[in-house]
Assembly symmetry: C2
Homo-oligomer: 207 residues x 2
DNA sequence: GGCCACGCTAAGCGCCCGCTCACCGTCGGC
DNA sequence: GCCGACGGTGAGCGGGCGCTTAGCGTGGCC
């Protein structure tokens, strides 16, 4: 994270990987608009307006409105997967790694709430090929969490009768944070991450 | 439930409270369309077409497209609240009542998945007054679950450091079922309900 | 200094949206 | 047998959508 930009909502928005500058401004504007109103309720005029450009400027950097969503979804899923992989592959017991994974995944969903909302809830707006690509990434997300839980079961740390079902529930709990979390609420992303990490350890019988 | 209609997806759709018949057919068509594509991506022509009527017929029974969403959301939240109240007020220990509440709430989100999706994820498409009415119902939903957890803490059955945070997590887990559940998946609504009830009991330290 | 490439804008095309309106068939009451 | 009420239709209005195109300003290169 070489550069970062603080928005009004207090969220940090790197998006370093998107260049040139005008393309990044459009993409950040699209993330905000999609998160607020949803993909279908957002107009290209609204996105361009938020980025301080004319409607036509969007089509210099992106072929269609859907390509914007695809790029956002792809980058967001890459980041989410990266967070889970980092936690899964660190040293430590399965319980430590699971708590780390849930804590950091939840912190991301709360702290980068606008991005996470688009990533988690606008998937159906993508066309078949783009959706297939993203679904493949989500399977990898599932595999990382399942791997930690399987490790904990193998080592005797965890007591989990249904590994796949519990994996689903753990991810479900984390993802739903993007739906309800708000910066005006009583909890910080760090507090929610710590709370949820503890709840998940109990779910796997390690609490 | 005096009458029930089996749809292609295998879901039971009562909607007895909506009359006359044409208004109910339009509403059921709207539920399916909103669940599949989202409120903003659904056209009034699509809704009317699914109900076997012309586009203009919709406006005989509903003032606007938004009124359809409002009615769906209202009826759905009433039903969800009814399910939780029934579980909360039955006889039995707090653990039994919590397991019953989570089990039946999850079964509803899985079995009536199309309705639940609209109810849980299309709230932002409502105007300010309609949304305020629905938000009030959601606070009652939260209060029912929190009440059971408080009972369990008071009786010593549960060990919950953060009652409000845990309430939020329990509801979050249940609600997210509407996002990922599919009838083509490996689990029945009953199985998911039982799995989740067990996980929640562990979350409150009663597992 | 001339010039072209590039990033951007103003204007607008074709389409489809939510919604309306004039009209029509049917059916119960007298 | 007539008639009004009512649920429904066909056509279409005003407007906003995603996206395109012709042209313009500017900055780097010879």
């Amino acid at each position: 994270m070489s550069t970062a930009e603080e928005t009004a909502g207090g969220e940090v928005e790197p998006w370093d990987e998107v260049t040139p500058d005008a393309a990044r401004r459009l993409l950040v504007a699209a993330v905000e608009a999609f998160a607020e109103r949803g993909y279908h309720a957002t107009t290209t005029r609204d996105i361009a307006g938020r980025a301080g450009m004319s409607p036509a400027a969007l089509y210099i950097h992106y072929k269609t409105k859907e390509e914007l969503l695809h790029r956002i979804s792809r980058i967001g899923h890459d980041k989410a997967l990266d967070i889970l992989r980092t936690a899964a592959r660190r040293e430590g017991s399965a319980a430590e790694r699971l708590a780390d994974a849930v804590g950091s995944f939840v912190r991301w969903h709360a702290g980068r709430r606008t991005t996470a909302r688009v990533v988690q809830y606008e998937l159906d707006a993508l066309g078949p090929e783009a959706r297939a690509e993203i679904v493949a990434l989500r399977r990898q997300v599932d595999a990382e969490v399942r791997g930690i839980i399987e490790d904990g079961v193998a080592s005797g740390e965890f007591d989990v009768p249904d590994v796949q079902g519990t994996t689903l529930a753990v991810l479900s709990l984390c993802i739903d944070v993007a739906r309800w979390f708000t910066v005006n609420g009583p909890r910080t992303p760090e507090e929610v991450g710590a709370l949820y990490a503890g709840l998940v350890l109990r779910m796997v019988g390690a609490g």
